[in-house]
């Protein structure tokens, strides 16, 4: 297996984690990862070195943006069954953070997850989103303030309906 393929493969678990937090639904999340991988494999020859990791996060982030754009005109149809209820003692806590995440607008959620969960630098996130670093930082600040308010029990703002 080529070095490129090895680096893609090594990223699958992290991509799944990011996608799950981003999309919330386990099936949709894995669909996003799958589409990301297919695209990556197909574009292997177009990949001219650089950081595979950032590149994969970029593809996934864009795919999710497109998906949400397609869905934006109608209320989202939520999955009825969580196939992978995370069995852990902190389930209630976990659900709170998931709910708080769901109240964020897309770009803010992506920034928060890329920085905090995936450990990317501000610079990398700026490249992924195609915005200046200052925008990344303000999105991050707003995301943290919003999630904090939500976790502190303030009634989360109604989910954004476009």
């Amino acid at each position: 297996m080529s070095a490129f393929r090895q680096s893609v493969e090594a990223m699958i678990p992290a991509l799944r984690r990011y996608a799950r937090a981003l999309a919330r639904d386990a099936d949709i999340a894995d669909d996003l990862v799958q589409d990301t991988l297919v695209r990556a494999l197909r574009s292997e020859r177009l990949f001219l070195g650089g950081d595979v990791r950032s590149w994969l996060y970029t593809i996934l982030t864009n795919l999710n943006k497109n998906r949400r754009r397609s869905l934006a005109r109608r209320p989202q149809f939520m999955p009825l069954l969580d196939n992978n209820p995370d069995a852990s003692g902190t389930e209630a806590e976990g659900r709170d953070i998931a709910r708080a995440l769901s109240t964020l607008v897309e770009e803010q959620r992506a920034v928060l997850l890329l920085v905090v969960l995936e450990g990317l630098s501000y610079r990398e996130v700026a490249d992924i989103q195609g915005v200046p670093i200052g925008t990344v930082m303000s999105r991050l600040a707003r995301a943290r303030a919003h999630v904090k308010a939500s976790l502190d029990g303030e009634r989360p703002a109604l989910r954004r309906v476009k």
């Binding site: 099936d27 869905l71 999955p79 069954l81």
Partner: protein, 256 residues
């Protein structure tokens, strides 16, 4: 305390937490936090947030990677599964007018799920227009209907109570299905709109709902414990989703 009193900005607090702050400024921030409990509290809450995120989602990264994400498999069948995704289904369901996702990509190799759903839609179209004999056993004999269908089909057939969505059981019938008998239940609202629930044995793993639209009818499909369910109705997809959801919830509650 002369140089160090340069006020710390909010951006710097974030950068400090995210280890993006130049090392020489960290000491200033720490001093600042010691003197400003409100900022210290915020920084603390951001750290707790990070912990909560990891606690909630790190387990996903530790799960074994599902087969369908294995690179070798994706290369062998690069696009096969993509259109079979719930995401594609949702997009087709929400944005598509007329042609559902089944029409895309899978036409060359009709899946079991596709033919299953088509069978159900055929039955739906055939019987919903029937005025005098839409069913074999009327809804007034609900208990008998359920016992009969359960006995013939071999799984627990229950007619869900859909009054909450404004629907009343018209009745049901037995149909030939893809893998033996199929049960077919019909519901009706006071305004005459009809919905049907088709169930048959299905060796598919598809716990999540999928959907398709054909002509003037739409259907939602899912499978659970070896039984496939198709709820069919008219082209008002939100309404169909509402009904399908009610059916799904009751099937879940009754344990299939």
């Amino acid at each position: 305390m002369t140089d160090r009193t340069i006020p710390v900005t909010e951006d710097e607090l974030h950068a400090y937490v995210d280890r993006e702050l130049p090392a020489e400024r960290s000491g200033d921030v720490e001093a600042w936090l010691a003197a400003h409990p409100e900022d210290a509290e915020r920084v603390q809450s951001w750290r707790a947030m990070a912990e909560a995120l990891h606690e909630r989602y790190d387990s996903v990264a530790n799960e074994p990677v599902p087969q369908r994400l294995e690179l070798e498999r994706l290369e062998r069948q690069p696009r096969r599964f993509i259109y079979g995704s719930i995401a594609a289904a949702l997009i087709a369901f929400v944005a598509g007018g007329g042609v559902g996702w089944f029409a895309r990509g899978e036409a060359a190799a009709p899946s079991q799920m596709q033919s299953f759903t088509e069978d159900a839609l055929d039955a739906h179209r055939l019987y919903v227009v029937e005025v005098r004999h839409p069913v074999e056993v009327p809804g007034s004999e609900r208990t008998h209907l359920q016992q009969w269908l359960t006995k013939r089909c071999g799984w627990d057939v229950r007619a869900p109570e859909l009054a909450s969505t404004g629907l009343k059981l018209v009745g049901g019938r037995l149909l030939p299905g893809p893998n033996g008998p199929a049960s077919f239940l019909m519901y009706e609202s006071s305004s005459g709109e009809r919905f049907t629930i088709y169930t048959a044995k299905a060796a598919m793993k598809a716990a999540q709902m999928r959907t398709t639209t054909f002509d003037k009818d739409s259907a939602m499909f899912w499978a659970d414990r070896g039984v496939g369910y198709v709820v069919s109705g008219g082209n008002d997809r939100e309404r169909l989703a509402q009904v399908a959801r009610a059916v799904y919830e009751q099937v879940e509650k009754n344990g299939g």
